[in-house]
């Protein structure tokens, strides 16, 4: 799949919102329901987490599909996570906090789910900032360790969603199970690889 096509696919959720915003302007009609602010926060949050899970599962998918250029596509996916998380955060700032940073600060010190989300976002920012080839080359092995924090991010976000749920926890439970499954696959691979390596070390 050519990179550009892949990028376009990743942009679909954004374009969907963009299109509705344009229509809102042109037809002077509301395409976002009664509470557009919350609608956007929720939508971008959910898209971000879906992309996050796709990123995590991509490496496992990638191996059988030799034709895919896994590293590049994984990077596009990862940057999409950052992109949608940024939109999620921006919608929160604009629509829920009314663009008052004081209010964000207040939420940050009083609400656990906002702390967790912000931590996750901070790490996402680090990963996005270090995703350029030259930076990655400079960082060497540190880059690998840094980018393993994607699992930490997943954990933080699942917790963030769990604390956001009010009455129904099915989405959080679903995400939690997804997280466990991915982590399980990752660890069992690592374990198998380490078993393979042992005799070599001995020799």
């Amino acid at each position: 799949m050519p990179t550009f096509a892949f990028l376009s696919v990743c942009a679909v959720p954004f374009l969907w919102v963009f299109l509705r915003a344009i229509c809102t302007l042109i037809f002077d009609k509301n395409y976002f329901g009664a509470d557009p602010g919350m609608e956007l926060v929720t939508f971008f949050g959910q898209v971000a987490i879906v992309f996050l899970f796709m990123t995590l599962s991509f490496s496992h998918l990638g191996r059988p599909l030799k034709t895919l250029r896994v590293p590049r596509m994984r990077r596009i996916l990862g940057l999409s996570v950052f992109f949608y998380a940024t939109l999620h955060f921006a919608s929160y700032l604009i629509f829920l906090a009314g663009f008052e940073f004081e209010k964000y600060y207040y939420d940050l010190v009083t609400k656990n789910r906002i702390i967790l989300g912000s931590f996750a976002y901070f790490f996402l920012f680090l990963l996005a900032a270090t995703s350029i080839d030259s930076v990655a080359r400079n960082l060497g092995i540190a880059w690998v360790y840094l980018h393993r924090s994607v699992y930490l991010i997943a954990g933080l976000v699942v917790f963030h969603v769990f604390l956001s749920a009010k009455e129904n926890f099915s989405f959080s439970v679903f995400l939690f199970c997804g997280c466990l499954a991915l982590l399980g696959v990752r660890l069992s691979k690592a374990w198998r690889r380490s078993k393979l390596r042992t005799p070599i070390f001995k020799a």
Binding site: A34, D35, S164
Partner: protein, 333 residues
């Protein structure tokens, strides 16, 4: 002894004459065809049809009563949240946890026949048909702000009767300190009640202190926007207490009980740290998840978030502040 009022009496026995006569003129007005199918005029929107194939007696009576309500003035009415938002965006967890689920899942909800059981410390205990509860009352319109604990708000013109005027008829005794309300429990009609990962227990329970319940603002709604209450908004009868967060305004009430001890309400039970008994709108007491200092007045648009400061007691302090004099509202949230 619970009094069970029979439904099978002759209709001119149970219907007072003015209602009866006006119903006849209504029938004439629609060319008598109204009984054959449900007329769209009877219902506030398509989703409120009852599943009964004809406009039932209860609905005709409500329709008449709502039509002849004491009306609010048109200028004030024009400032309320448009009907299509108020009826398509709300919480009614019995019908699902998304904001648009109630409208979707309550379409076939049966609200007639509807009985309300009155119990506890009162002389008028019994099971009543909704018709009989409503019949003696003249309905009135009240435009109230509705503030949800999730920090959004709307302005809704309800039609109904003061809670006090109904409670009086049951002759509560002096040891009745609280009034407890319960929503219908019917997992077949209410899919949310059997949801696997739900944090709340059904039936939904709410309660007010007696002096809160008899405050002039406490209201029972049977309609909104001059129409019969849509199913998703708590048909056929719901509570409205505008100085408290929306979840206190319990929907689709089937039980009213006068009790001495303070009842444990649904949200208190599910999360006592986050939800107290009083749940008065209070910008200075935060919910652990939502700052309560501001609210989003809906509908807002993506080009104007419409955020405004939240007022103490949702702006109804003049009417209700006396109820909480001397209480530490940070402790009794």
């Amino acid at each position: 002894m619970p009094k069970k009022l029979s439904r099978n009496t002759h209709e001119n026995e149970v219907t007072d004459e003015s209602v009866y006569l006006s119903r006849r003129s209504l029938l004439k007005g629609f060319g008598g065809s109204i009984l054959g199918y449900h007329s769209p005029l009877l219902y506030s929107d398509k989703s409120s049809s009852t599943g009964n194939e004809f406009g039932s007696e209860l609905h005709q009576m409500l329709f008449q009563k709502i039509k002849s309500r004491l009306k609010e003035d048109a200028i004030k009415l024009a400032e309320s949240t448009p009907f299509n938002y108020a009826s398509s965006y709300n919480n009614f967890y019995e019908f699902g946890s998304g904001k648009s689920d109630p409208k979707k899942n309550a379409k076939k909800f049966i609200t007639d026949p509807w009985e309300v059981s009155v119990q506890g410390e009162c002389d008028g205990a019994g099971t009543y048909h909704l018709e009989d509860l409503v019949r003696p009352h003249l309905l009135e319109e009240r435009i109230y702000r509705l503030r949800c604990v999730e920090a959004w708000s709307m302005v809704i013109p309800w039609v109904g009767l003061p809670l006090l005027s109904l409670l009086k008829r049951f002759k509560p005794r002096s040891n009745a300190k609280y009034v407890k309300f319960e929503t219908l429990y019917d997992p077949i009609q209410m899919p949310g009640q059997k949801s696997l990962f739900s944090a709340i227990e059904y039936p939904y329970v709410e309660a007010l202190r007696m002096d809160e319940a008899t405050n002039e603002l406490s209201f029972l709604a049977l309609g909104m926007y001059g129409k019969i209450l849509p199913n998703q908004n708590g048909a056929p009868i719901r509570l409205v207490v505008p100085w408290k967060y929306g979840f206190k305004s319990i929907k689709s009430i089937v039980k009213i009980e006068f009790v001495e001890e303070r009842p444990v309400t649904t949200w208190m039970k599910s999360n006592p740290r986050e939800y107290g008994f009083y749940s008065n709108v209070n910008p200075s007491v935060d919910h652990p998840r939502w700052s309560q200092a501001t609210e989003r007045r809906l509908p807002s648009s993506i080009f104007s978030p419409n955020i405004r400061p939240t007022e103490m007691f949702n702006g109804y302090g003049d009417e209700v502040a006396y109820l909480y004099r001397g209480m530490d509202l940070k402790k009794f949230y």
